[in-house]
């Protein structure tokens, strides 16, 4: 059970004013707010925590087939790359550049393929290519459909495959993740 999330930092800076009154309190726990307010680069920290929460949300939603909900405050980030919701803990791995933040969240340790794209046009097609190459199967045998909760599901020869996939876009960036 995996999930990933990317934030285009330049876009995030123009789309959201996290200093707006009440904004941090709606999304971040007291501990997270304290960390943001005391770090050298709060602008990046806000989006780092945000991407951790979003990636963990996707993994958790897939794991329990949850309907979409907006509860970022329930996902608690802790040091050592962990996000927890209720009693469930997700290991997260965040990668930075000057222009993006990308997080992968996992419920269990597993192998995965992950790739980040700048200005890509068809992320779904890229994901199909990666899976086709990994599994040594024809590209045309692979399809991706969203289920009723908008979780993307991988099909091979029209049969549901036990491979988790996750796609994320924001601004100039997109990223994909598959546990194969």
């Amino acid at each position: 059970m995996i999930g990933n999330d990317i934030v285009d930092l330049q876009l995030a800076y123009s789309q959201s004013n996290w200093r707006r009154k009440g904004w941090l309190q709606k999304i971040f726990t007291i501990e997270e707010q304290g960390y943001i307010n005391n770090t050298e680069n709060p602008d990046v920290q806000v989006w780092k925590f945000w991407s951790m929460k979003e990636a963990a949300y996707k993994a958790h939603q897939r794991r329990f087939l949850l309907s979409p909900r907006y509860n970022p405050l329930s996902y608690e980030c802790s040091s050592g790359g962990k996000v927890s919701i209720h009693n469930y803990v997700y290991a997260v791995n965040t990668e930075f550049s000057n222009t993006y933040v990308h997080t992968i969240a996992k419920a269990y340790d597993c192998d995965y393929s992950s790739k980040i794209f700048e200005n890509t046009t068809n992320i779904k097609q890229e994901l199909k290519w990666i899976i086709a190459r990994k599994l040594g199967i024809p590209l045309t045998s692979i399809s991706i459909k969203k289920d009723e909760n908008r979780i993307p599901i991988l099909y091979i020869e029209n049969k549901k495959e036990n491979i988790d996939i996750s796609i994320t876009h924001h601004g100039r960036y997109s990223a994909l993740l598959a546990n194969c």
């Binding site: 959201s16 707006r20 009440g22 709606k26 999304i27 909900r69 907006y70």
Partner: protein
């Protein structure tokens, strides 16, 4: 406040965050903020804060969790207004 007035206020609130104008033109109660209007998920916090300011109510975590569609948001606002 009638439901029409409430919907009209809600539309004014969400408009600046909408990234799919066709979705906004065809807005109905079933419109989903992320899927149909392509509102960035981080901006849903702004929607909640704007709703608080406009209606003078408090959107707690349980209420915000539901505010992903026009219909659910109207229900949340109506419930909060009724208990004000």
């Amino acid at each position: 406040m009638t439901k029409e007035e409430l919907l009209s206020k809600l539309k004014t609130i969400i408009e600046p965050y909408v990234q799919n104008q066709d979705g906004f033109k065809n807005l109905s109660e079933d419109t989903d903020f992320i899927k149909d209007l392509e509102i960035n998920s981080a901006n849903l916090v702004d929607v909640a804060l704007d709703v608080e300011d406009e209606f003078d109510i408090e959107i707690d975590n349980d209420a915000m969790e539901k505010m992903l569609t026009v219909k659910a948001s109207i229900e949340v606002i109506q419930t909060k207004l009724a208990t004000k």
